[in-house]
């Protein structure tokens, strides 16, 4: 389904803003084509395409706010959605934390779109599945995987004269490969903006090698070990922690970034000096929209610089209340690192454990961001720079704050996605001391 053109979108948004008689009006229009294919047991199981375009109108009378959405864009529909939002606003209670719509922003376009991804066909999806399955079948392995892709546009306008329009694409491929006896399992994941960078035939072989190599796993006593977390394994922990970079929570005394006696840890050394984490919508390898979901322009900003807390996320309300300036909430997370690959880090490790992937990570104690979770789909023992044998999976109980104070070495960041975070991330492989495994898992 073709999206409306940029001119059409602009005309619709301008019409909506003009139609509203409220004190202020914000109109946001977004459309997407999302495709996917799923396979398991070496067969395609489901595939689908969903097209959707929607207009959301938010208006305010004083501190009373109402929102309504619609997916028809003729004049009568536009009038109806504006009227509905206005009716809801008049009925709404006053919001004591109301902040006016954003002022006119200067959005600098970011490179979020690739034509090849927008042009994905069902045949391409089927080909990705077929290649993954064929490679596994040939080696008597079993593939289960998922390819999802999106091509979308977002546009925003308001009664302060603000306007922005941008298109974006993203594709994500994951594949779990298991041995027929169920004793070995490997995984690979690839997150791209440009689907031509995805070669399933090559990617799947990573998972196949790990599946085959992990079949004779040995048990190692739980305890503290030097680990090498592959970028996908580290991303789950790091992205979990980043959720708690909220300034209000920290100021209110209920975050690991709260200070004893009051206030937050802005400016304090919380991590190893080698830890630097940046949000940058314009990063060519992990570009995201240049505005957040409130329409506020994003900026390039460090969250952590040389181990110190450089910025916290201020909502517009909390910034106003505390005399700070709010910028758009980050859409990506770029953790700096070195130049070595995961394999390079393994080569310089005397004894340690290589972790492919982490799974089912949950908060145990928000006071310290203690997280628990498990290793999965490829855990190996390293000795004298070589992978010696596969290990049974472990449960870990570890805080990313402690983990990022126990760094031996950081490798070269790569683009990854996490199961449970919408951030586009660049995360390095990490060699870490004293990572805490608390029990063994029999799961393969």
């Amino acid at each position: 389904m073709a999206f409306p053109t940029q001119d059409q979108v602009k005309a619709i948004l301008e019409k909506v803003v003009k139609l509203s008689k409220a004190d202020e009006c914000t109109a946001v229009m977004a459309g997407s084509t999302d495709g996917n294919i799923r396979f398991a047991l070496n067969n395609v199981s489901t595939s689908g395409i969903v097209n959707d375009t929607e207009l959301a109108v938010t208006v305010a009378y004083g501190k009373r706010v109402g929102s309504a959405t619609i997916n028809a864009f003729d004049d009568a529909s536009l009038a109806r959605v504006v009227k509905r939002a206005e009716e809801l606003a008049m009925l709404a209670p006053e919001n004591p934390e109301f902040v006016p719509a954003v002022a006119k922003q200067a959005y600098r376009a970011s490179p979020t779109f690739d034509a090849a991804t927008a042009a994905i066909t069902p045949d391409l999806r089927a080909d990705v599945a077929a290649k993954s399955i064929a490679a596994c079948k040939a080696e008597k392995l079993i593939a289960a995987g998922f390819l999802s892709d999106t091509s979308n546009f977002s546009a925003t306008a308001n009664s302060n004269g603000n306007y922005g329009y941008q298109t974006a694409t993203r594709a994500n491929y994951t594949c779990t490969v298991r041995t027929t006896d169920g004793r070995g399992s490997g995984w690979v994941g690839k997150d791209v903006q440009d689907v031509t960078q995805l070669n399933a035939d090559t990617e799947v072989r990573v998972a196949m090698r790990k599946a085959a190599a992990s079949a004779e796993a040995r048990a190692l006593e739980p305890g503290k070990y030097t680990v090498i977390l592959e970028p996908a394994a580290a991303a789950g922990l790091v992205s979990f922690m980043i959720r708690f970079f909220d300034a209000r929570q920290a100021d209110e005394g209920r975050s690991f970034l709260s200070k004893k006696g009051g206030g937050n840890k802005l400016g304090e050394q919380v991590y190893d000096p080698r830890v630097t984490m940046i949000a940058d919508p314009w990063n060519p390898e992990a570009a995201v929209m240049p505005w957040d979901n409130t329409g506020l322009a994003r900026e390039r900003q460090a969250l952590v610089q040389d181990g110190k807390i450089a910025n916290l996320n201020y909502s517009r309300f909390w910034a106003q209340k505390t005399g700070k300036t709010a910028v758009g909430q980050p859409g990506n997370l770029l953790m700096m690192g070195g130049t070595k690959s995961t394999a390079d880090l393994v080569r310089t490790t005397e004894r340690g454990i290589l972790v492919t992937r982490t799974w089912y990570i949950r908060m145990v104690d928000p006071q310290t961001v203690l997280l628990t979770g498990l290793t999965r789909d490829g855990t190996f023992y390293i000795e004298n720079g070589e992978i010696k044998y596969p290990l049974k999976n472990f449960r870990f109980n570890e805080s990313p704050v402690i983990m990022l104070n126990n760094i031996d070495e950081l490798g070269r960041p790569v683009r990854v996605a996490s199961d449970e975070s919408s951030l586009v991330m660049m995360i390095p492989p990490m060699k870490l001391r004293d990572f805490t495994f608390t029990s063994l898992s029999d799961a393969v």
Binding site: D34, A40, N71, E252, R376, R395, T438
Partner: protein
Amino acid sequence: MRRRDFLGVVGGGVVLPMAFGRLIAAEELVTTMDVAAKKRLADAALNIAKGAGASYCDVRVGRYLRQSVLTREKTVQNVVNAESLGVGVRVIVDGAWGFAATNDMTPDGVAAAARSAAAIARANARQQTEPVRLAPAPAQGEVTWATPIRTNAMAVPIKEKVDLLLSVNAAAQAAGADFAQSTLFLVNEQKYFASTDGTYVDQDVHRIWAPFTVTAIDRQSGKFRTRDGLSSPMGMGYEFLDSKPQDKFTAPNGVITYGASYDMIEDAVAAAKQAREKLAAPSVQAGKYDLVLDPTHTFLTIHESVGHPLELDRVLGYEANYAGTSFATIDKRDAGLMYGSKLVNFVADRTEPNSLGAIGWDDEGVRAKRWDLVKDGKLVDYQTIRDQAHIVGKNESDGCSYAASWSDVQFQRMPNVSLMPGTAPLSVADMVSQVENGVYMFGRGSYSIDQQRYNAQFGGQLFYEIKNGKITRMLEDVAYQMRTPEFWGACSAICDKRDWRMGGSFFDGKGQPSQVSAVSHGSATARFDGVNVINTARSLG
């Protein structure tokens, strides 16, 4: 997880709600669609599908309504009324499934979806190695079912809901909480199902959840502690919030939990006091303890370590890339795997009153039923849908088909799975009096389990030390680690049916793209001997 719709999170776990559907006015939440109109749409799709070569077709005309009211302290953060309306068509052509969905609610719109589903099925058939086999599902004719609610929560004015939540927050703050957040989630699924087998089902399903979190802070030490509400989401109307004395359960140490009705303000007041008490509670000493688990806690352990591993699609490998597989394979069942001690009986049940999983018919027109999963400790069965029944030697589906929306294809989801109460009379007080060195746990805390459902770790909301049969003091920093068969094998006592009640998960995630479902798990207070308890306190220096 970019998982669409509700999401925020999870593979085979519990997710957080996000945006859903189209925003509408509150008064639209109480309307319903004309059944005859739904039947006309469904018949249009069925006829087109048959004409396109389908050997089977089902059509779901769905109107899915959600309302959420979110507050913190004295502020209403958001009120959302949302509707998702459309038609999903699923067909079998040449032995393969095809599915398509549309929000174009016209005969032409659904006809196009039916043709599209047939085309997808035909394309899938070319790669299919074995044709779909459907267990028989007898024609039901035109039937209806509705959650037996007394008060449609959607019809209760927003102001009443806002007033309740702000009172909850105020009561918690007056009782010593520094912060209080409370929420109401309401769901109404108006689902119409029709199939070429001659079944037409119109259903009206209601669910309600009223969670809260209070936070207590000690600014000097920088310490903070939270306590979540101890109620459960239910398959009920607004009457759930009309508290009745007979639905309260008072533990020997005075902790109050709730069954089929809920006093949210009373719980918030208790939560505020307990959150403050937690700030000074001693840290547990790690080691082996006998655990006494309240049903407000046990439901999630059942969900993760029994409900999910007995989903047949997981067992077979269809979820391998995301939620994972299962340790409880069919060969183990055939070999008589002991899943737990002989006291342990798990029953799957889609008919349990007030439960989140209660329905009349599932999303492929199969009548709701109740069956054994684990009998006297032994694994005896799984959860199936129509195209899986034959794999485990059954000639009927268990009625476990569910789709989160009209736009999602239905697949196998967990029914209510519950631990049966003990048959011998046993009160909680009697159970506690027999424990020498134990920890008594309430509420849902952190939870994590591996991809085959062996190794799990669970925290809670409240922990109390038991010494020589007496509850002595509150503890903090408690979590236990378990291996599923050993854990249920260590179950040495279960209180009788007087103590039985349900907990539940409102947003359980599964599948790619992820779909959420809601499910209840009942139990009575149960004892587990010699479980490994860890201390979760850490220092950031």
